[in-house]
């Protein structure tokens, strides 16, 4: 449950993060990738892991909107606007961090001018754009009624801004509400296949690479879908606890997260089983790096203990304790970044040709990648921006108000 004191602490934390992160952002914007530690053998590092993390978090909102507006599950209706807003903020963070990872971010227009329809990355970007195209209008339509109300409130700060947002409209009737919800439903139907393709496409980006045994395979897109649903579900459950701390909302979401966690762990176990049984050297080396490499603790302690075993224990033994369920989901959420990093780096960290490490010395031509302080600072900056945007948005936009009595309009 979020009170004023918590809110203030979060804002202070986010502002501090932005100030501290400015150093890394300065290094990135002034000197490009010069002071970052990824190289040519591990070309994707911390920022791509965060990109995957953010993209996955959007899945929580996807579940909620599909359930509420697609299948008309009234139970979660109050979460509609909140979850869509969370999705937009995570998409924003994703967009920023992946743009910073590009060597030439200003050439992004090339996706339109010279697209390669055979590239999975092109389709991933296309689906990201599609998600924006679906959820930005959804958010507006869900908020419009309250925006009209706020725009009429003479004492409300930013009244002119709200009036601008609603295009000067002063009245909003039953007919408008029905029309807007009808549009939201249509967008939700469209989002069903788009969302699945979007989450699957993350996996496909990796799955098609024949030279990457840890990633290559038909299971990878499915694993990514499950990972996204799990991390996104955990996010939404925790946010629900903060903004709508109702037992009848948090507890069913907790049960969904428990099911997703069990499924994800099963798929992960399958991946290890298949890898070790196949005995493909590069595959085994990658798995060994995950489980017994220098960052073994990220797998065993962060992911399996703090992010899986403890939450699972809590979710099984205390399903009716709303607070415990929410904090279990929080543990899943914050440790899930370790899962993303542990999936991304180990395959890149295996030399693809024997003897490559002895050919030409450069720190860019090594596989022992550890993110440096600049990379962390940039990540902190983006995370802080996301945190600030989300919590200020919750305060300055009628997101909570739009969720009240939403079940009656679904």
């Amino acid at each position: 449950m979020l009170n004023e004191r918590h809110f203030r602490y979060i804002i202070i934390l986010a502002v501090c993060g932005l100030i501290i992160g400015t150093w890394g952002m300065g290094a990135r914007l002034l000197y490009g990738h010069k002071y970052m530690d990824y190289g040519s053998f591990v070309p994707w590092g911390l920022w791509v892991a965060f990109d995957l993390f953010f993209l996955g978090l959007t899945a929580g909102a996807y579940i909620v909107t599909v359930l509420v507006y697609g299948f008309r599950v009234k139970l979660f209706a109050a979460l509609g606007p909140l979850s869509v807003f969370a999705l937009l903020v995570t998409l924003l963070c994703e967009g920023i961090i992946i743009s910073l990872d590009l060597g030439h971010p200003l050439r992004i227009y090339r996706f339109l001018l010279t697209p390669n329809f055979g590239s999975m990355l092109f389709w991933l970007v296309a689906f990201i754009v599609a998600m924006w195209a679906i959820y930005l209008p959804t958010f507006y339509l869900l908020l419009r009624e309250q925006l009209v109300v706020w725009s009429r409130d003479e004492k409300r700060p930013g009244q002119k801004f709200f009036r601008f947002l609603v295009g000067g409209r002063t009245a909003y009737g039953e007919e408008d509400r029905a029309r807007d919800h009808r549009r939201v439903r249509v967008l939700s139907y469209i989002s069903m296949p788009i969302g699945l393709l979007f989450f699957g496409m993350h996996g496909a980006l990796f799955a098609i690479l024949l030279n990457r045994p840890l990633w290559n395979g038909a299971m990878t897109p499915f694993l990514f879908i499950m990972a996204a649903l799990l991390s996104g579900g955990a996010l939404i459950t925790f946010l629900t606890y903060l903004f709508h701390p109702r037992d009848d909302l948090v507890q069913p979401l907790g049960r969904i997260v428990l099911g997703l966690l069990a499924t994800f762990l099963f798929l992960e176990a399958l991946q290890f089983f298949v890898g070790y049984q196949s005995q493909v050297p590069n595959f085994v080396t990658s798995l060994n790096l995950i489980a017994f490499g220098p960052f073994w603790w990220a797998f065993w302690i962060l992911h399996l203990l703090i992010g899986s075993a403890i939450p699972m224990y809590i979710l099984i033994t205390q399903p009716r304790n709303t607070r415990a369920v929410a904090w279990a989901c929080f543990l899943v959420l914050i440790t899930f970044f370790a899962v993303r990093l542990n999936y991304l780096i180990p395959d890149l960290a295996v030399y693809k040709l024997e003897g490559l490490q002895n050919t030409f010395y450069s720190h860019r031509l090594r596989t022992d990648y550890v993110p440096n302080i600049n990379e962390w600072l940039v990540s902190i900056w983006v995370l802080s921006l996301g945190l600030l945007t989300f919590f200020l948005g919750m305060r300055w936009l009628p997101v909570e108000a739009a969720g009240i009595e939403e079940e009656e309009h679904v």
Binding site: P115, S119, L209, L210, K352, E354, R364, L365
Partner: protein, 253 residues
């Protein structure tokens, strides 16, 4: 002249490759299929090809187009060492070009996989997709980076850089902006068979520098060429053939 050539016990491979090149350049460009054969038995691991390539293309730190892998084969006492030079293999079914989301890299009609530096967004997906780690990214580093800076035109970092690395090589036959200002910094970079040299009738730098004549280059569609002859050898193999990438760089055991 012909008689003199016959009298020689063996014609230098470079002379023959130069002649093959001259003949190839008389063909229509689309009829040429460039290819390379590397005779591992002849490679002595001197790394001259790597250095020549770095010098020819003025490659910055961390960017390398052609490396020489060193492998130890067997167990003591039956141990031997072999050297495997690895340029871009110019796959005929290249996974890297399919990965590029903005069509900044493609295979030309002559079978050379190239990168359009002005189009590349620097996502590095092609680096991840290449099974041979043959692509590197340019992270804007300088060999003269750690040199103390002094005023004047003769000494100091700027003077040193201006004498060499501040001005990129004419890769792909184009003039590139002063280093650090734009591409190829931030781009994926790779071996392009020295297309700028081929255009003016010169063999790739790695080929001319190979002291053991282990690197053979030419038009693999020309039955008279040395490279064509070598590809027909029973010793021929290609790296990671099981991936189906069909490299245009062949190796001789």
């Amino acid at each position: 002249m012909a008689l003199a050539a016959k009298e020689l016990p063996q014609e230098d491979a470079l002379v023959r490759m130069q002649r093959d090149l001259k003949r190839a350049l008389q063909k229509k460009p689309q009829d040429i299929k460039w290819g390379m054969v590397i005779d591992i038995a002849k490679c002595i691991g001197c790394h001259a090809c790597t250095i020549a390539c770095v010098a020819e293309n003025k490659l910055p730190p961390g960017v390398v187009y052609r490396v020489v892998l060193e492998e130890e084969v067997g167990h003591y006492p039956a141990v031997s060492r072999r050297f495997v030079p690895r340029p871009c293999l110019h796959c005929q079914n290249p996974p890297c070009t399919k990965a590029c989301p903005v069509t900044a890299t493609w295979k030309t009609a002559q079978g050379v996989v190239i990168v359009d530096y002005n189009r590349c967004i620097g996502c590095r997906y092609c680096l991840v997709a290449c099974p041979y780690s043959a692509r590197t990214s340019d992270f804007a580093e300088w060999y003269t980076g750690g040199t103390p800076d002094l005023g004047g035109k003769l000494v100091g970092r700027k003077a040193a850089a201006n004498g060499y690395e501040a001005h990129p090589a004419a890769e792909y036959g184009q003039k590139w902006p002063e280093r650090d200002h734009d591409s190829p910094v931030g781009n994926a970079r790779k071996c392009h068979f020295c297309l700028h040299r081929l255009k003016v009738g010169m063999l790739p730098a790695c080929t001319t520098t190979c002291i053991g004549r282990a690197t053979i280059f030419g038009d693999r569609s020309d039955p008279q060429s040395l490279v064509y002859e070598m590809i027909g050898s029973p010793r021929v193999f290609r790296l990671k053939e099981e991936l189906g990438t069909l490299p245009a760089v062949y190796y001789l055991k």
